[in-house]
Amino acid sequence: MKLVGCDVFVYSPNEVTPDLPKTVGPLKLELISNRGTKVWPAGVARLDYLADEWRCRYTSEGDQPLPHQHKDLDALLQTIISQGHFWTRVQVLWLLPDGSRGFSQPY
């Protein structure tokens, strides 16, 4: 299994989408979802209310294995904290042995 990113769950009340860094080292902000539905980049989905926890997915370009593994994730979290965001949970993202993503996509 290859480590290619992480989902950072960020607390942000009052239906305000957290303004997170788009790139930190090899990690790029791929999407933000709320209640399991993608809200950034915006698509056709529209939610009538937004929960106060946001799933923010950071992945490497082309799902390449992270060169420094957890050090890359540590640097991302430090950057997010330094910008005043409050993360509640972090889930590492793996590629399965067959190269497919071992994590689901939001609606």
């Binding site: 299994m1 209640r35 539905t37 989905a45």
Partner: protein
């Protein structure tokens, strides 16, 4: 009066069922301007997403849709068309009326309840991971707002329809935090409706109670996964999925749907019972304020079922989809 509604004809036997339902609704005196949209296997086979963006956009614009049965391609990475529609349109209330129909023999005489299933939260958010090579994890979430709105929908329905009792189904004895929040929030909302009895029950016991003491239940409000299971259990109790209608309501949009599959092996054979889609269409007519037409169709359908001379194969008859529709139309005249 004339209305607009989006129609998703669906896969397999969906188009022939929808054709029969169009004819019946047309004979009821309501003029519907049907706007076609695609989703399901048909969309995927045409090289589109399982629910194309244009389908979401047209439903959001028209606000009402009727959906025939759809197939979901089985295989890696394929998402459910039904769940995608619910999530992208935020159709938070899945409503399933469960009632025994005249002439349809079941061991559950007098069954008459309505299930309100929360449609957007719980384990159905599809937040799943391999956390190690040998362990997987699915995240269940329950929010106060999400629970408040489904609880309020159930209580309001009970109030408007003269229902006496609402039962919250959960598993808070084990999942004390997530299901505990669902139960606590339902109780808080129910307190605003003192004229309606509010009870709660754990889901496993509820299954047993439903098949032994079904007359004790009136309106059920529950989470997504439990609602999914209870709805099909109750559909079986009323005679099968071919008879069970369903509706998904959001803040602005509503999608009315058959809850059964597309029965692809019967495609083109004019064989499948259209009752589930027809009764979903009846729910749509009521939503559009066409109660008289809805009543006319329901009465005719019940007469045909009660007489028993014209029945589809699932009810022991030999009539085809179109013959069954013809007989309902004949009774309306």
């Amino acid at each position: 009066m004339s209305h607009q509604a989006v129609i998703i004809r669906g896969d397999g036997t969906g188009p022939e069922i929808c054709a029969a339902v169009f004819r019946i609704i047309n004979e009821s005196g309501v003029k519907i301007d049907w706007i076609d949209a695609v989703a399901g296997e048909g969309a995927v086979n045409a090289g589109k997403p399982i629910v194309p963006d244009e389908t979401i956009e047209v439903i959001r614009k028209i606000k009402v849709a009727l959906k025939g049965p759809m197939g979901t391609p089985i295989g890696k990475g394929s998402v459910s068309a039904n769940v995608t529609l619910r999530k992208k349109l935020d159709l938070y209330a899945c409503v399933r009326p469960i009632k025994t129909l005249p002439g349809v023999k079941t061991p559950f005489d007098g069954l008459d309840l309505v299930i309100f299933r929360e449609n957007t939260e719980d384990l159905y958010a599809q937040i799943e991971y391999y956390v190690t090579p040998t362990m997987t994890l699915a995240k269940k979430f329950i929010t106060v707002k999400g629970t408040q709105r489904i609880a309020r929908a159930a209580m309001e329905y009970a109030r408007k329809n003269g229902r006496k009792k609402v039962t919250c189904v959960h598993k808070a004895n084990i999942m004390k935090i997530t299901d505990g929040l669902f139960l606590k929030t339902c109780r808080e909302v129910a307190a605003e409706y003192p004229e309606i009895e509010f009870t709660d029950n754990i889901v496993d016991n509820q299954c047993m109670q439903l098949v032994t003491k079904w007359k004790l239940y009136d309106v059920i409000v529950t989470e997504n996964l439990y609602g999914d299971i209870l709805s099909d259990l109750c559909a079986g109790m009323m005679g099968g999925l071919g008879l069970a209608p369903g509706a998904n309501y959001g803040q602005d949009c509503a999608v009315f749907e058959a809850v059964h599959g597309s029965a692809p092996k019967y495609t083109g054979q004019n064989k499948v019972n259209p009752t589930a889609v027809l009764l979903s269409g009846v729910m749509m007519l009521e939503h559009l304020g066409e109660s008289a037409a809805a009543k006319r169709i329901t009465t005719s359908l019940e007469t045909v079922l009660k007489e028993g001379a014209v029945r589809t194969y699932d009810l022991g008859g030999t009539a085809g989809t179109s013959q069954f529709a013809d007989e309902i139309i004949r009774k309306m005249k």
